[in-house]
């Protein structure tokens, strides 16, 4: 390659970057770990650092930059030593985010998206961090702060300015605390209702031991017979997925746990990862035995970095006790180990193909399907991707039997499900219930009877109104990964819809045209309704554009991103029609004459005789 000045960056000038790459054996598949480590070390990833990484891993610099520029938690501009990320989910906004922002801005003397001149603080927004039940919340480096108030913010900033570490905000004895104690001091568990399967008492490794008495095929039969369907949203039969992976001829197979939990309003996996990490690893180990995998990955969203050491400790403990590693429970040929892969701020990485791309060190872009991961997934090998909750269920099913699980819930939706309830209710938190309860019943338990609207399944799900609260939480009626967001009558539905559309615009990977571009147009159109600039034809425009995006998008993100609009058009039609008004300027309301002539005013350096009534008077 043609050598240039910038490419002359000597590796020797960047010993730490070289060292970081070497920690990961200069493996390009570990690019995300490498870049995260550089970000932590230097608070940014400079062009020079990318060149060194490129040289170490044998990639081109543009390939490294492609990864570095994809993830929200990686940046090419230097960030403050302490980076404060305020969760700007709609639930946090309704819980007083504006006052929190004002308090941080005035105490720190910087605005949102700025870094203090001395390089100490950066202040930015981030989408839902999985703390909707304790909003407003924020990440301060790797530390989570919840239930923020302006008073707390003033105290936090004063202490950080006086030289305390973010960890000291949690406890002065932070370093002496166990990983579990640290997590518990940062984040409330908020288990509101424990069901029979996951959140009640759970015996240790009973499922794993029972699986030793079964052949791999029998394990798959048991899981299939239990009726267990994926809890990450799509609801695919877990047993059938495993069967596909087991039946594909291959030298290696992988089990990946999807702990990306990015759907706004969902936080039940956070609770399982904290309360039931052993059960999760047990479930993965059973899955490994069933499909013949020796390697596994837990993909943990970047926002849950505060759980990293807790999970690492569980993995280490299980290795020590012969529950992970070679010859599990003394059984010849039963070898399985797991590595933890941290994400770095990208909702789309919850999509299984994107998740695999991310584990491979690539930008988090979904993969072309077919082939499906069960035949060609991680590094081209058959891969089972399951949600945290699905894998926890597996361990319990192996212990108690498929009949026990099948007997709970309703036809087609067996067992229990965790629901993450947040928003305008008295008891936000996690509820484990058998499938089949109505939304009204759940609202009653959560103290949300006054709700005017409930978002079931997060923004990619369905927004329903009071008249249909008797609908059932099952795969056949209201399928959901578990997010239940409650909105009272004070909330502005269009504000909610506009927020969720901005979320999808922010999180689209950009690979395909309809999702990349179409969602921007949808967001702009909703903005027109909010400003009172829409006309009747815009309602049809929203429907029409949504249909194109859904039908032509490449992955589930674009196939569901118009749902906030479509489900509110359907269930809250008056909200839209009330905003359609005739225009004052005798032009079509869709046409905003004021913004149309603002450029002309600027260029002509004068105002309009017609549209600026005071001009010339």
């Amino acid at each position: 390659m043609h050598v240039t000045d910038t490419q002359l960056t000597q590796a020797s000038n960047w010993p730490d970057v070289v060292g970081i790459c070497e920690t990961y054996a200069n493996d390009p598949h570990r690019m995300l770990d490498i870049l995260r480590a550089i970000q932590d070390r230097y608070r940014h990833i400079s062009q020079e650092a990318m060149e060194v990484v490129a040289r170490q891993t044998g990639l081109s610099k543009i390939a490294v930059e492609g990864v570095a520029s994809f993830y929200a938690f990686l940046s090419s501009d230097p960030k403050g030593r302490i980076t404060i990320r305020l969760c700007d989910d709609i639930v946090d906004r309704f819980a007083g985010l504006t006052e929190i922002v004002e308090a941080f801005e005035s105490e720190l003397g910087i605005r949102m998206d700025e870094t203090s001149p001395d390089g100490t603080f950066s202040l930015e927004y981030t989408p839902c961090i999985g703390m909707c039940d304790q909003a407003p919340a924020a990440m301060v480096n790797d530390v989570i702060l919840t239930h923020l108030t302006p008073e707390k913010v003033r105290e936090i900033v004063a202490r950080l300015k006086s030289g305390e570490r973010p960890e000291d905000l949690i406890s002065h004895r932070f370093d002496e605390l166990s990983p579990r104690e640290r997590a518990d001091r940062m984040v409330d568990g908020n288990i509101r209702h424990a069901g029979a399967v996951l959140l009640g008492p759970v015996p240790e490794d009973a499922g794993l031991k029972a699986s030793l008495n079964l052949t791999p095929a029998q394990i798959i039969d048991t899981v299939e017979a239990s009726g267990l369907r994926g809890c990450g949203g799509a609801g695919f039969s877990a047993g059938r997925k495993w069967r596909f992976a087991a039946e594909t001829d291959a030298e290696r197979r992988f089990i990946i746990c999807n702990a990306d939990e990015g759907e706004p309003g969902t936080f039940k996996d956070r609770v399982l990862l904290t309360e039931r990490p052993h059960l999760l690893v047990e479930g993965m180990t059973i899955a490994a035995r069933a499909v013949g995998a020796r390697e596994g990955i837990i993909y943990l969203r970047g926002e849950y970095v505060y759980l990293r050491e807790l999970i690492e400790e569980v993995l280490a403990d299980r290795r020590e006790r012969g529950l992970l590693g070679d010859r599990i429970l003394g059984e010849d040929g039963f070898d399985f180990d797991i590595r933890l892969q941290m994400g770095a701020g990208a909702y789309v990485c919850g999509e299984e193909g994107a998740l695999i791309s991310s584990c491979e060190g690539l930008p988090g872009e979904p993969k072309t399907r077919p082939p499906y991961p069960v035949t060609r997934g991680y590094l081209g090998f058959p891969t089972v991707v399951n949600n945290v909750e699905t894998l926890c269920h597996v361990a319990r099913i192996l212990d108690r039997g498929s009949k026990w699980f099948f007997g709970m819930g309703t036809e087609g939706s067996h067992g229990t499900k965790l629901f993450s309830v947040s928003g305008d209710c008295r008891n936000p938190g996690v509820y484990e219930l058998p499938y089949g309860h109505s939304v009204a019943e759940l609202l009653e338990m959560a103290g949300g009877e006054e709700a005017a609207a409930v978002l079931v399944g997060g923004p990619s799900g369905t927004m329903i109104a009071r008249d249909t609260f008797d609908r059932k939480l099952t795969f056949d009626d209201l399928a959901t990964g578990g997010a239940i967001v409650v909105f009272s009558r004070e909330r502005n539905i269009l504000e909610i819809v506009e927020y969720y559309m901005s979320f999808f615009v922010h999180e689209s990977c950009g690979y395909c045209t309809p999702c990349r571009v179409g969602n921007v147009f949808l967001q702009k159109a909703v903005g027109k309704f909010r400003k009172g600039l829409a006309n009747q034809a815009d309602i049809e425009y929203l429907r029409d554009l949504s249909a194109t995006i859904i039908e032509t998008s490449r992955c589930g993100l674009g196939m569901t991103s118009p749902n906030p609009i479509l489900s509110t058009l359907e269930n809250f039609p008056l909200v839209y029609s009330a905003m359609v008004k005739p225009s004052k300027d005798r032009t079509r309301a869709t046409f905003d004459i004021q913004s149309a002539i603002s450029d002309a005013r600027h260029l002509a350096k004068r105002r309009s005789y017609i549209f600026d009534r005071d001009f010339g008077e």
Partner: protein
């Protein structure tokens, strides 16, 4: 290799295992509109203009494997409407001022708009990107304001030229094509690269200096023929 039959818009054609629906259609002389796919390059499946219905399910023809007995809808009013929406999105995402563009008449985006009857004023807002033009290279200029993110240059440089001059950076609406260096002059791009040749960039984003307007507008490929004529031509022969 095993061969089998499937139908496209009622026409029965032959296909073989390993082919995509588009490969099979091409071989049979049936044109499926496309922008990001290009002969000799890996399939990307990004533009979605090749969307067809296969047994009633909408899929991208350039990536979907051909299967025995498949019933494919290609040129129906509904599918053409989807394609027109996608092409309009691309027009509105970038700055496409055909009358002043060197690629006019050779531009696949423009030609696709004609083919899909994109004649009425469009309904979308313009996003009007404002990116600097990279004219640093002695023989090549790059105006990414016209880029439709098809990624053809990226794959051509990587897989055919063995270089990796181009790549994507950013995410979502900010995702764009960038070069492997501070500017094009500081890469190993060369005017003789396949990635730089006229056939790779479907629009006027990659410009070869001193070759502009060698053939006058009005006499260019799509001034004379509808896009897809080469493939459809195979069938008429």
């Amino acid at each position: 290799m095993s061969t089998f039959r499937l139908t496209i818009d009622g026409v029965e054609i032959e296909a073989s295992e390993g082919q995509t629906i588009m490969d099979a259609a091409d071989a049979a002389g049936i044109y499926i509109p496309r922008l990001c796919d290009h002969e000799g390059l890996r399939h990307q499946g990004g533009c979605r203009v090749c969307t067809v219905k296969a047994n009633g399910r909408s899929v991208s023809a350039c990536t979907q494997p051909a299967e025995p007995g498949l019933t494919v809808d290609n040129e129906t009013p509904h599918i053409n409407k989807l394609r027109r929406d996608l092409v309009e999105m691309l027009f509105h995402e970038g700055n496409h001022l055909c009358p002043i563009c060197e690629a006019s008449g050779n531009c696949e985006l423009q030609a696709m708009a004609y083919r899909l009857d994109m004649t009425a004023p469009t309904k979308f807002p313009y996003l009007e990107p404002c990116r600097p033009v990279d004219a640093s290279h002695p023989d090549i200029a790059l105006d990414t304001n016209r880029c439709i993110s098809c990624g053809r240059c990226i794959r051509a440089s990587q897989d055919v030229d063995g270089k990796g001059v181009f790549g994507y950076v950013g995410r979502g609406i900010h995702r764009q094509v960038a070069v492997n260096g501070p500017d094009l002059a500081h890469t190993d791009a060369d005017i003789s690269d396949f990635a730089i040749s006229q056939e790779v960039c479907p629009v006027g984003c990659i410009i070869r200096k001193r070759q502009g307007f060698a053939r006058p507008i009005g006499e260019r490929e799509f001034d004379r023929n509808l896009i897809g004529h080469k493939i459809n031509g195979k069938r008429d022969d």
